[in-house]
C-alpha cells in the first residue's frame, strides 16, 4: 500500500498536465472555436453561436474554463457533442469495450506467442530455430499493423472467406460471432507486438541463462522445462512487463488505424471521425480518455513491477 501512495502524486501530476494539454488543444486552434464546433453552415446563425459561447464559457479566461471543465470531468460529464447531440461520455462508454477487447486480445495473443518463442530462441541461441525466430521477428517489425490487416483481409476474408472483413457483433449478443469479428483486428495489432516482445524476452533471457543461478538449478538435476519457465522466466519478465506498458501507446495508435480499417465501433474510430468532422468537444473527450488510459495503465504496470520483483518489494535486510 505504501508503494501505491508514494507513486500516486506523480501519476496525478501527469494526469493534470495531460488533461491541461488536451484542453489546450481546442484553444490553440485557429479561428473561433464556436464556429468550428458548430460547423460552417450552422455558424451563420448568430443566436446558435451565442448559445455555444455561453455553454462553453468561451468568454471566460482560459484557466477559469479549465477549472470548470475539470470539475465537469470529475463528475463524469465530458460535454455534449454539437454535431451528434450525444453526451460525449455516453458515446465513449459505448465504444470502450470494443477497443479494450481488441487491444487486450492483441496483447494476449502477442504474449502467448512471444513467451514460448522467446524462451526457445534464448535457450537455443545461435541455433537454427533461433535464427528463424530472430529473422522472422526482424522482418515483422517492418510490417505495420495496417499492412498486416490488409494481408489478413486478403487471405482470410477475400480469398478464403472464413472471417469477416468489417463490422462488429457485441460479445453479449453472440460470443462466437464476436470473436470472429475480433480476431483479424486483434491479430493485425498482435503481429507487431509479438515481434517486439519476442526480441526483448530473448535478449533478457539470454542474459539470465548465463547466470550462475541457472547452472545451479541444472546442478540440482531440475528438468530443463522447469528451469526455463520457473527459474529463468520470472527474472526475465520484468522488462517485458515494462515494455508491454510502454507499448500501450503504440497499441492505442494502432487501434485507431485498425478500427478505421475494419470499421469497428471503437473509441479510436470515434476519435478519427470526430477529428475529420471537426467535432471539437468529442475530440477533446476522446483524447482525454485515451491519455488517461495510457497514464493509468503505465502506473499499474509500474506498480506490478515493484510488487512482483521481490528485490524491490522486500528491500534488503543486510547489505553484505
Amino acid at each position: 500500500m505504501g508503494l501505491v501512495l508514494r507513486r500516486l502524486p506523480a501519476m496525478l501530476a501527469t494526469l493534470l498536465i495531460v488533461s491541461f494539454l488536451t484542453f489546450l488543444l481546442t484553444s490553440l486552434l485557429p479561428g473561433d472555436p464556436a464556429i468550428q464546433i458548430l460547423g460552417a453552415d450552422n455558424a451563420n446563425d448568430p443566436d446558435s453561436v451565442e448559445v455555444v459561447r455561453e455553454e462553453l464559457r468561451l468568454d471566460d479566461p482560459l484557466l477559469v474554463r479549465y477549472g470548470a471543465w475539470l470539475g465537469d470531468v470529475a463528475r463524469g460529464d465530458l460535454g455534449r457533442s454539437f454535431r451528434t447531440d450525444q453526451q460525449v461520455a455516453d458515446a465513449i462508454l459505448e465504444r470502450l469495450p470494443v477497443t479494450l477487447e481488441v487491444g487486450g486480445l492483441a496483447v494476449l495473443i502477442a504474449l502467448l506467442v512471444a513467451i514460448p518463442l522467446g524462451t526457445l530462441s534464448a535457450f537455443r541461441a545461435g541455433g537454427r530455430a533461433d535464427r528463424v525466430v530472430t529473422g522472422a521477428s526482424f522482418g515483422l517489425l517492418a510490417l505495420p499493423p495496417f499492412m498486416v490487416a490488409i494481408l489478413l483481409i486478403l487471405v482470410f476474408a477475400v480469398t478464403l472467406g472464413w472471417l469477416p472483413a468489417t463490422g462488429w457483433v457485441r460479445f453479449t449478443a453472440d460470443p462466437i460471432d464476436n470473436l470472429r469479428h475480433a480476431i483479424l483486428p486483434a491479430l493485425s495489432l498482435a503481429v507487431g507486438e509479438m515481434a517486439v516482445y519476442t526480441r526483448l524476452l530473448r535478449a533478457d533471457m539470454i542474459t539470465t541463462l548465463q547466470q550462475d543461478s541457472i547452472t545451479m538449478a541444472r546442478a540440482k538435476g531440475i528438468p530443463t522445462s522447469r528451469i526455463l519457465f520457473r527459474h529463468a522466466l520470472r527474472p526475465s519478465s520484468f522488462s517485458l512487463m515494462t515494455v508491454v506498458g510502454l507499448q500501450v501507446a503504440t497499441i492505442i495508435g494502432g487501434a485507431v488505424i485498425i478500427e478505421t480499417l475494419f470499421a469497428l465501433p471503437g473509441v479510436g474510430r470515434l476519435l478519427v471521425d470526430s477529428i475529420l468532422q471537426r467535432d471539437l468537444i468529442m475530440v477533446q473527450g476522446c483524447a482525454l480518455v485515451i491519455a488517461i488510459a495510457f497514464v493509468v495503465i503505465n502506473f499499474i504496470v509500474d506498480l506490478l513491477y515493484t510488487v512482483l520483483d521481490p528485490r524491490i518489494r522486500y528491500g534488503s535486510a543486510a547489505t553484505t
Binding site: A142, I150, I153, I252, G253, I275, C286, I290, V295
Partner: protein, 318 residues
C-alpha cells in the same frame, strides 16, 4: 507538388541540366588532422562486423529507392496521375509492369513517384528530430545538473503523451500538407532523439579520453565538438535510419485515415488505402505499394541496425 521542387532541382543539377554554377553544398567540413577521419573510416568497416550479402542488398534497394525518388520526374514513366479508364485493374503486362489501379493509372509510375513523398517526409522529419533532439540531448548530457533534470522531465512528459492523438488533431484542424506532416512528425520525435543522444553522451563523457582532454585544459566547447560529438553523431545517425522507416510507416497510417497528402498525388500509404475496396478484384493494387513500403522499411531497419551495433558507443569496446 511544389514541396518536391528542391528534389527536381537537385536531380537537374546532377544531370547537368541548365543550372548556373554554384558553390558546392559542403555541409560538413572535413575535420583537420587524420585522427578523427581515420578513426571514423576504421569504425565503419568495423561497424556491425562482417557485412554480408543481405546488408549490401538492403543498401542497393535503398539506393534504388532514393534514386527513383530524386529522378522520378526525369524517368521514362507515364504520368502517374493520368487516368485511363480502358486499363482499369490491368494486371502485370508489358505496358504496365506493375499493373494499373482502379482509375487505370500505371502502378509502377505511381509507386516510383510515391517514393518521393516517403523520402521527403522521412528525411525531413528525421532531420528535424535529429538536429534539435541531438543538440538538446548532447548538451544536456554533457552539462548535467539541474538543467538536465528539468529538460529530461519535460521530455518525459512529452514522450508520455500519445503522439498520435496530437498528430491527428493538429493535422485535421490545420490542414494536410507535406510540410505540416514532416514538421509535425519531426517535432514529435524530438524527445526520442534527445534521450538517445543524451544516453550516448553520458557514456562518452565518462570515457578516459574526455577526462584527459579536460585535464589538459581544453575548453568545454572544444571537448564537446572534438571529442564528444564525433562519437555521438554516428551512433545517433544509425538510429536515425531506423527512425526513417518508422516515419514512412506513420505516413502510411495517416494515409489509411485519410489524413495524408491530398490526392491525386500518390503515396505508398495512400495507394494501400485506396486498394482496400478493390481487394477482391485486384489484390495487386495493395501488394505492390505494400511490397515497396515493406522492403524499404526492412532495408532501413537492417542497415540502421547493423551500423548501430558497430557504432553505438555503448556496445563497442573503444
Amino acid at each position: 507538388m511544389a514541396a518536391l521542387q528542391p528534389l527536381d532541382d537537385a536531380a537537374d543539377r546532377v544531370l547537368g541540366l541548365g543550372v548556373d554554377d554554384e558553390p558546392s553544398l559542403d555541409v560538413i567540413p572535413a575535420p583537420a588532422g587524420s585522427g578523427p577521419r581515420a578513426r571514423r573510416r576504421w569504425r565503419f568497416r568495423r561497424a556491425g562486423g562482417k557485412k554480408g550479402v543481405a546488408f549490401w542488398l538492403a543498401v542497393a534497394w535503398l539506393a534504388t529507392v532514393a534514386f527513383c525518388a530524386v529522378f522520378a520526374t526525369r524517368l521514362p514513366l507515364p504520368d502517374p496521375n493520368r487516368p485511363n479508364v480502358i486499363d482499369r485493374f490491368a494486371g502485370f503486362s508489358a505496358e504496365h509492369p506493375l499493373g494499373a489501379d482502379s482509375l487505370g493509372r500505371d502502378q509502377l509510375s505511381r509507386v516510383v513517384h510515391a517514393a518521393r513523398v516517403s523520402l521527403v517526409v522521412s528525411v525531413s522529419a528525421v532531420t528535424i528530430g535529429l538536429v534539435v533532439g541531438g543538440i538538446i540531448g548532447t548538451a544536456v548530457g554533457y552539462v548535467r545538473g539541474r538543467t538536465e533534470r528539468v529538460v529530461m522531465a519535460i521530455v518525459d512528459v512529452i514522450a508520455a503523451f500519445p503522439a498520435l492523438v496530437l498528430l491527428l488533431a493538429v493535422l485535421a484542424f490545420v490542414g494536410r500538407s507535406l510540410t505540416v506532416i514532416s514538421v509535425l512528425i519531426g517535432a514529435l520525435s524530438i524527445p526520442i532523439y534527445t534521450r538517445v543522444s543524451r544516453a550516448n553522451t553520458l557514456s562518452i563523457a565518462q570515457r578516459d579520453f574526455v577526462h584527459a582532454a579536460h585535464t589538459l585544459g581544453a575548453k568545454q566547447s572544444r571537448i564537446l565538438f572534438r571529442e564528444i560529438l564525433p562519437n555521438v553523431v554516428p551512433a545517433v545517425a544509425a538510429f536515425a535510419l531506423v527512425a526513417m522507416g518508422l516515419v514512412i510507416v506513420i505516413e502510411g497510417s495517416l494515409a489509411i485515415l485519410g489524413l495524408s497528402v491530398e490526392p491525386p498525388d500518390p503515396t505508398w500509404g495512400g495507394m494501400i488505402a485506396a486498394s482496400k475496396p478493390h481487394l477482391e478484384e485486384a489484390a495487386h493494387l495493395a501488394l505492390v505499394p505494400a511490397g515497396a513500403m515493406f522492403f524499404t522499411v526492412l532495408s532501413l531497419n537492417f542497415v540502421g541496425d547493423t551500423l548501430r551495433r558497430g557504432l553505438d558507443v555503448r556496445d563497442s569496446n573503444l
